[in-house]
């Protein structure tokens, strides 16, 4: 049984991080250069960690499967990043950001971690502005903000609809500086395929060079995994196709606990599925809900009618109706489920009936009139207002409207978007303590790959915040606490038996996959798994459904290992093999997610069990039995994993029923 010591510092919530920083062990500058840290991943979390640690003087190697660190999935984030700057003078504060995040997570996150996140959020914006991130600005030259879901203040910083791109390029520029100055060794197109554990400590990794197929050993004093989320287990999601769980999963199999795997975020505003050839779902940023109004027809018989022909009185702006104080900015889990309920009632729109409208007509009118007034136009014509309004909306969201047009061939200026929820983020991940270290000493986990800050539901614009917080402002302090206890020069050599054994483990897996030579391509299994996960472990879960899901996954997994066909050779670039390795891991992870969802007999945040709901369809938590983190421990192939728990103690906030009404 794993020991899960969260190491949360004592003392009042607001002082914990400051106190911890002053008490934490330090590594002296001359010794820092004797330690080698391997950072896996160069998304916001990995790139910022690698650069910060190199700047402190550690030897750093950064490994990514991409051909360039700039391609990490963080690049795709659209909407924005939160920070408690209170530049808007609208009553924001560190406490309020902390509180919103805790409540948004449906009281399933650690108070101390979330408070720290809110505290360092302000430093992130300073750091990124200094790096030259071109944030949106007001006419006076100061930073602009917008609102995101689950908040009643405007605290989201953004760079058009490409905030993730600009933040990642900022972190990438720091990493590039270090690579250019030889303080970070960059290794691209290598996939971490195993974790090497020596005497119970993480001391290295095994990678596969995706260009040549060769296996490599990297010995280290500490390993940082910052490899992102695992939403591609659903096949269709808003993730990049290459995002994978492999690094985390192999670490799990080496003893790291996997926490709350079933906590998945389904984002309400994505472009609906259109055909079975589809490879990904495209997000329409939450920022659109600042101005777009979500509705479905009141009457079922109207669902196939042109939206503009449906009079106001026959429209149901359901988020505004059900959640008047947050309206269209209700949190994601709440909004997604509401949309699903409307479609289940038969009021969904579009070809498949799985869609709701996101309508900008009102915003276009409002902005058009404002722009006309600013331009001193008296009695502007309706056309002029439309023209000015569309221009104003284009300035805010033009790139999103363009993406929508490319994919659907429809103009969202002229008719409402059709949207539907899709898998978007995974709150679960490897278990870490307050220092971001897993239960395997020496293994640190950052960014989306860990579980720690978002509880059962993540609020919009807070993943970017967490990635940069972990990499720029937390790990530079907390890694010292571990390394100070490791003798400089004590790291094992790559010749150590544990490296040979781990390398053999990877080689055997690859040989096995290559030798099946069955009848179906890898994609066949990925699609089937995705369907099982969506049907049984998606937006609404039940005991029967999850039990059935587990059985179906076991069957599918057995078939995969009998009948998959991975052509070509393992000795050069082989994209079919890359996919097969990842899908093999998903076929195991999927089962663990169902198991986690099955044993959590309550509803909270993104985890909705039909059996546990309030009469109005909202989540019914069971704080008596489930105010804890479930951290699963691998027990060996074919054996049931062990469910460890870490109790969540709320010292400052009172756990209550989350209401956005």
């Amino acid at each position: 049984m794993a020991t899960l010591d969260s190491k949360i510092p004592s003392g009042p919530l607001a002082d914990k991080w400051r106190k911890h920083k002053t008490e934490i062990k330090l590594v002296n500058p001359a010794n820092k250069r004797k330690y080698h840290v391997v950072v896996v991943g160069a998304g916001l979390a990995g790139a910022s960690a690698a650069a910060s640690l190199a700047d402190l003087g550690y030897q750093v190697t950064c490994v990514v499967f991409h051909d360039s660190p700039r391609r990490a999935h963080s690049i795709a984030a659209q909407g924005g990043i939160n920070a408690a700057k209170n530049y808007q003078n609208d009553g924001d504060s560190v406490y309020r950001l902390f509180y919103d995040t805790i409540k948004g997570g449906d009281y399933r996150a650690r108070e101390a971690n979330v408070h720290r996140l809110a505290e360092v959020s302000v430093n992130i914006i300073d750091q990124c502005a200094a790096l030259g991130v071109p944030f949106a600005r007001e006419y006076g030259g100061l930073l602009a903000n917008r609102s995101f879901g689950g908040a009643q203040v405007s605290r989201t910083f953004y760079a058009r609809g490409q905030t993730g791109q600009q933040l990642l390029l900022g972190a990438y520029s720091s990493l590039s500086r270090c690579v250019g100055q030889n303080t970070v060794k960059l290794v691209t197109e290598h996939e971490m395929s195993d974790l090497v554990v020596v005497d119970g400590h993480a001391k290295g990794i095994i990678t596969r060079d995706l260009k040549t197929g060769t296996l490599h050993r990297f010995a280290a004093d500490a390993v940082i995994v910052a490899t992102g989320g695992y939403g591609n287990v659903f096949n269709l999601s808003t993730y990049a196709r290459g995002s994978n769980v492999t690094a985390s999963w192999r670490a799990y199999k080496r003893g790291a606990c996997f926490a709350n795997p079933c906590y998945t975020q389904i984002h309400p505003t994505c472009i609906p599925v259109s055909g079975d050839y589809q490879s990904k779902l495209t997000l329409m940023s939450e920022s659109l809900r600042n101005d777009g109004r979500i509705w479905v027809p009141k009457k079922k018989e109207d669902v196939k009618k042109a939206p503009a022909s449906i009079p106001e009185a026959d429209r149901d702006y359901f988020l505004e109706r059900i959640y008047p104080s947050f309206g269209n900015l209700a949190p994601r889990d709440v909004s997604s489920r509401a949309a699903k309920r409307m479609c289940d009632e038969g009021r969904g729109v579009g070809e498949t009936g799985l869609g709701v409208y996101l309508d900008f007509a009102d915003a276009i009118q409002r902005y058009g009139k404002q722009a006309a007034a600013r331009a001193n136009l008296h009695d502007p014509t309706a056309e002029k207002i439309l023209e000015l309004g569309e221009a104003a909306v284009a300035e805010r969201y033009g790139n999103l409207f363009d993406i929508y047009k490319e994919i659907t061939d429809e103009s969202a200026y002229k008719q409402p978007m059709r949207i539907y929820p899709a898998v978007h983020y995974t709150m679960g991940g490897l278990w870490v303590d307050y220092n971001l270290m897993s239960n395997v000493p020496g293994l640190f986990v950052l960014g989306e790959a860990n579980f720690s800050d978002h509880g059962a539901n993540r609020l919009g614009a807070s993943a970017l915040m967490q990635g940069l917080a972990d990499g720029f402002f937390v790990i530079p302090y907390t890694i010292g606490d571990y390394l100070a206890g490791q003798k400089p020069g004590s790291r094992p050599s790559p010749e150590h038996a544990a490296f040979a054994a781990a390398e053999k483990n990877v080689a055997d897996l690859i040989t096995k996959l290559m030798s099946i030579k069955g009848k179906e391509p890898v994609a066949y299994y990925h699609k089937k798994l995705g369907k099982i996960m969506w049907d049984h472990c998606g937006m609404a879960r039940t005991k029967e459904g999850l039990t059935k899901g587990i059985a179906l996954i076991q069957e599918l997994r057995a078939e995969f290992w009998r009948n998959v066909n991975v052509p070509g050779s393992a000795e050069n670039m082989n994209q079919a093999l890359e996919k097969a390795c990842r899908v093999a891991d998903y076929l195991e992870l999927g089962e663990l997610m169902c198991r986690d969802a099955l044993t959590r007999e309550e509803s909270c945040g993104g985890h909705f069990r039909e059996e546990y709901q309030h009469p109005d369809g909202e989540c019914l938590r069971d704080d008596e039995k489930f105010a804890h983190v479930a951290a699963w421990e691998f027990q060996g192939e074919g054996k049931e994993p062990l469910r460890n728990t870490e109790p969540l103690n709320y010292e400052t906030v009172k756990m209550s029923v989350r209401s956005y009404k």
Partner: protein, 273 residues
């Protein structure tokens, strides 16, 4: 307002023939191979069409066509196909992954090749090695800031127009289409986008000269060609990065070279007591 019905896009299937560049490895010779692709929904993306073809090949135990891709929404810069002679295909302002089959007609023969340029060697089939771009960024594409040392973000106001123009340049996705489109394999558009992004902001001023000098030197060293003002680069760019940034970089470069030559330098390198 006139009520417009949803103009549902056509779903009539189309069939095409692909002529794809196949090359087993960097040192092996390549050649075109034809593959039929039948009954495609015109709303599938070009890459989804390749997925379908590859699933067919894999099911038969044949080596699938290697191609680079990741986000599939035009932001990561991984996809890099030359489609019918054009980097990123027939449409302006989109990446390969944002090209849809509705842009093609039933019966078309579609030629697909990798981005071809000396500094981007082929790894396999349609996948090339673009690490030269990273090397250029490492030479100077940054502002040196240690974590924890920044001042308050609002302490340095940035005029909105400057911030907007910097953002226009910063949108570059590092795909390399500009290089593939240029007969000289020049990387000027890519480099000028970074130089302009940081050069337009107050935060980028301290290292402005060294940045442009070092990045341009690295670009030359890596074998990218000269710019002869044909502007095929900006025409192929999925983010429509303007070639005005090239002119801006040239001005920066001349100024920086001049200042570099005549700048008084401190001779002290002492560390102090």
């Amino acid at each position: 307002m006139v009520a417009t019905a949803h103009s549902a896009p056509s779903t009539t299937p189309i069939s095409i023939t692909l002529r794809v560049w196949r090359q087993a490895g960097p040192a092996q010779p390549g050649r075109f191979v034809e593959y039929p692709a039948k009954d495609l929904n015109p709303n599938m993306s070009f890459l989804e069409m390749l997925d379908v073809v590859n699933d067919g090949l894999e099911g038969k135990g044949e080596d699938p066509i290697a191609f680079a891709h990741d986000c599939r929404e035009g932001i990561c810069g991984t996809c890099s196909l030359v489609i019918n002679g054009k980097p990123h295909g027939p449409h302006k302002g989109v990446a390969s992954c944002q090209t849809y089959m509705r842009s093609f007609a039933n019966g078309d023969v579609i030629v697909v090749e990798p981005f071809r340029a000396k500094p981007f060697p082929v790894i396999k089939d349609l996948v090339t090695d673009r690490s030269a771009f990273d090397a250029i960024q490492q030479a100077g594409g940054f502002v040196t800031v240690r974590a924890g040392s920044a001042c308050d973000a609002n302490a340095i106001p940035v005029p909105k127009d400057d911030a907007d123009l910097a953002m226009d340049a910063a949108q570059c996705i590092g795909c390399g289409a500009c290089v593939a489109a240029c007969k000289n394999a020049s990387a000027m558009l890519f480099v000028s986008a970074k130089v302009s992004h940081l050069g337009l902001l107050p935060q980028g001023q301290a290292e402005r000269d060294s940045r442009v000098l070092n990045m341009v030197a690295k670009m030359d060293e890596l074998g990218f060609g000269n710019c002869t003002n044909q502007y095929e680069c900006s025409a192929a760019c999925p983010k429509l990065i303007s070639h005005d940034f090239i002119a801006r970089m040239n001005r920066d470069y001349i100024g920086a070279s001049f200042r570099q030559a005549f700048k008084p330098k401190s001779t002290s390198t002492a560390g102090g007591a």
